[in-house]
């Protein structure tokens, strides 16, 4: 997804304004000089200025019939599904790994993703099993990373 510079500019202005207001609540140094708020406030003001700079070029593009949002050619239905599956797989791992454990969650993540990317079921299963075991041995056993055990805690 490609955004017109107007959208980028407005987003920067809104973010900068929020940060500026929010930073006011940060405590200052004992003698009344700026403390924790100094850098965020300076940066937020600069962010607003950079946001404002984006607007004229965005307006020019709108005059040249450029829409506010442009769908990139690769972002078709299949592309969007692939994109979404990557995001969902990571979120699935975040929420499910603790209860299901690394081995099951990793298998499911790799299996679902390879299937979505149009691999055959048998190949997907083989890759998911192989990758999961490889990563488990490397990180869990060799590097002693405490990967979640979950259902397989026997």
């Amino acid at each position: 997804m490609r955004f017109n510079n107007i959208v980028i500019g407005i987003a920067a202005i809104l973010s900068g304004s929020f940060i500026f207001v929010y930073s006011q609540s940060f405590p200052s140094l004992g003698d009344g000089r700026p403390g924790a708020s100094l850098f965020p406030m300076v940066l937020s003001v600069l962010l607003v200025i950079v946001g404002l700079v984006q607007i004229p070029s965005g307006v020019k593009n709108v005059k040249n019939k450029e829409p506010l949002f442009t769908r990139l050619p690769e972002f078709d239905l299949q592309g969007f599904c692939n994109f979404l599956v990557v995001v969902m797989c990571v979120m699935f791992y975040i929420y499910a790994s603790d209860s299901l454990g690394f081995l099951i969650t990793s298998f499911l993540v790799v299996f679902i993703m390879t299937l979505t990317l149009r691999a055959r079921v048998t190949v997907s299963i083989a890759v998911a099993v192989g990758a999961t075991l490889c990563i488990y041995l490397m990180f869990g056993k060799m590097l002693m990373v405490p990967l979640p055990v979950g259902l397989l805690s026997f």
Binding site: L46, Q54, D98
Partner: protein
């Protein structure tokens, strides 16, 4: 200080079976990632961090040096065979190398690229070995004022050299600096933008952010590309070193000056191997007797740019080691690794841990020597590497990203951080907002704020000391000149045009 004892210590650290195994494995990993279109050397470095996290400093650094040298060369292989650069550093001369491949010279092209990559690597390493200690001597006299200006210089360079719109590069930089503000502040110890989430008290963990911005963003970009858009694979056999010396002899001068220019570009904060390749390709074309042949299959530009991208790698280590300011995205990640190992990059590292510096030099030399047999092997195996189905590769890389992000703090929160920054980096690139300035903002933000706040407290809120010390004043003047250049240049241009 280079003494016999330090050299012996460094040699002892490198001449260890474990270190050699690490270098060999990292080299093979670098060659694979570099040869695989769509996977970048930065992504490979970010993914290597969780593994190096569990190593001693010397093997960890050796792994990264060997990996990046191999990856940057290996990027030339798919560029030559299927017209897709394996890494962005090979993009500048992809048209030339593929045009030569279509003329049946693929083996020779890859042979030339391999040899000049090694030569470029050595030029960069020699400059690194001689320049870094000299700069470190100077940097020993630096105080917070000089470091503040150095941080400003690094950040300004990152914006200026990122290519494309300066305002968008500035937007990227400000985003990185603002994300760096998250966590307990250095002035009064107040938790900023943490929203009572204890995971944010120390700020965003750097490595998951890097894995997200390079690894996840790369996967997101690649899963959208359809395999059918990839050019057919060209099988080439024969001796890759046959006829290599001819093109190198003809282009020896572009090769040498590109090696030096490439290292200089690498030294500039924010500009890495890819920019070095583009800059030297442009310079060589500008001074060539046959500029019209560029892009249609000439060795001249290819030799120059291929030398430069490898020489830039060592160049990027100069500011990283001497000032703690990364020369490119890869050294930005490596600085994060050094901090994780409780090694503070800066001039003191040359006196406190000289064996580490010498080991880095040694690894660069070793990696460049190893590049010849390993590069030859990679070219011979290219047909197999390029046939690895990418729909099977990306899910496995994603799983590595997830576990890698988790491994740093054993925290699921870091996986979320990785995802958020990955998606953000993807959308930034879609909208022509360069990612490199944001990364430099994240790396240098702390140095910038700390040096400024400490300086202000020392000077009782007077700005004068920033311009009182000679080096500080010089650096300040350079930085201010960089800031006003975008305004001043068009004005001077207009004046000159009117005068003409």
């Amino acid at each position: 200080m280079v003494t016999f004892e330090n050299l012996a210590n460094a040699a002892g650290l490198l001449w260890d079976v474990n270190v050699i195994i690490v270098i060999v494995l990292a080299s093979m990993y670098g060659l694979f990632v570099g040869a695989m279109p769509g996977l970048t050397a930065s992504m490979a470095t970010a993914l290597l961090v969780p593994v190096t996290f569990f190593m001693e400093p010397v093997p960890a650094l050796a792994a990264m040096v060997a990996m990046e040298a191999m990856a940057i060369f290996a990027g030339d292989i798919p560029a030559t065979l299927i017209r897709i650069p394996g890494t962005p550093s090979s993009a500048a001369y992809v048209e030339d190398s593929y045009a030569l491949t279509k003329q049946g010279q693929a083996s020779r092209v890859m042979g030339v690229q391999l040899v000049v990559s090694v030569i470029g690597g050595f030029i960069g390493t020699i400059i690194l070995i001689f320049l870094a200690p000299v700069l470190a001597e100077v940097a020993l006299n630096f105080s917070t004022y000089e470091y503040f200006w150095l941080a400003c210089f690094g950040l300004s360079c990152a914006v200026m050299v990122s290519g494309g719109s300066t305002s968008k590069a500035l937007l990227s930089l400000l985003t990185g600096l603002l994300f760096n503000c998250v966590g307990i502040d250095i002035a009064v110890g107040f938790p900023r933008f943490t929203f009572d989430n204890p995971n944010l008290f120390d700020g965003f963990s750097f490595i998951p952010v890097m894995i997200g911005m390079f690894g996840v963003a790369e996967i997101l970009r690649n899963v959208l590309v359809k395999e059918s858009r990839i050019a057919p694979f060209v099988t080439q056999t024969g001796n890759i070193f046959k006829g290599v010396w001819g093109p190198i002899k003809e282009s020896w001068w572009p090769m040498l000056h590109s090696g030096v220019v490439g290292t200089a570009v690498g030294i500039l904060p924010g500009a890495g191997a890819d920019i070095a390749a583009w800059v030297t390709y442009g310079i060589t074309k500008r001074f060539s007797k046959t500029p019209e042949k560029f892009g249609h299959g000439t060795y001249e530009g290819l030799v120059a740019a291929s030398t430069a991208n490898n020489s830039a790698l060592a160049g990027a280590w100069v500011p990283a080691l001497v000032f703690g300011i990364p020369g490119d995205s890869i050294t930005a990640i490596i600085i994060g690794v050094l901090y994780m190992k409780n090694i503070q990059p800066g001039p003191n590292i040359f006196t406190r841990s000289p064996e580490i510096i010498l080991a880095v030099y040694g690894t660069f030399i070793m990696a460049n020597i190893l590049l010849i047999p390993f590069g030859w092997l990679a070219i011979k195996l290219a047909s197999k590497v390029l046939k690895v189905p990418r729909n099977l590769l990306y899910p496995v890389i994603l799983m590595f990203c997830i576990v890698g992000a988790f491994a740093i703090n054993n925290s699921v929160f870091d996986i979320g951080t990785m995802l958020a920054f990955g998606v953000a980096a993807y959308f930034m690139e879609c909208n022509s907002i360069p990612v490199a300035p944001a990364i430099l903002g994240l790396v240098l933000g702390d140095l910038l704020e700390r040096s400024f706040m400490v300086s202000m407290m020392k000077s009782e809120w007077s700005l004068t000391p920033f311009f009182e010390r000679p080096i500080s004043a010089t650096l300040g003047a350079i930085v201010i000149l960089i800031w006003i250049m975008p305004v001043l240049f068009p004005y001077i241009k207009r004046k000159m045009a009117k005068g003409a």
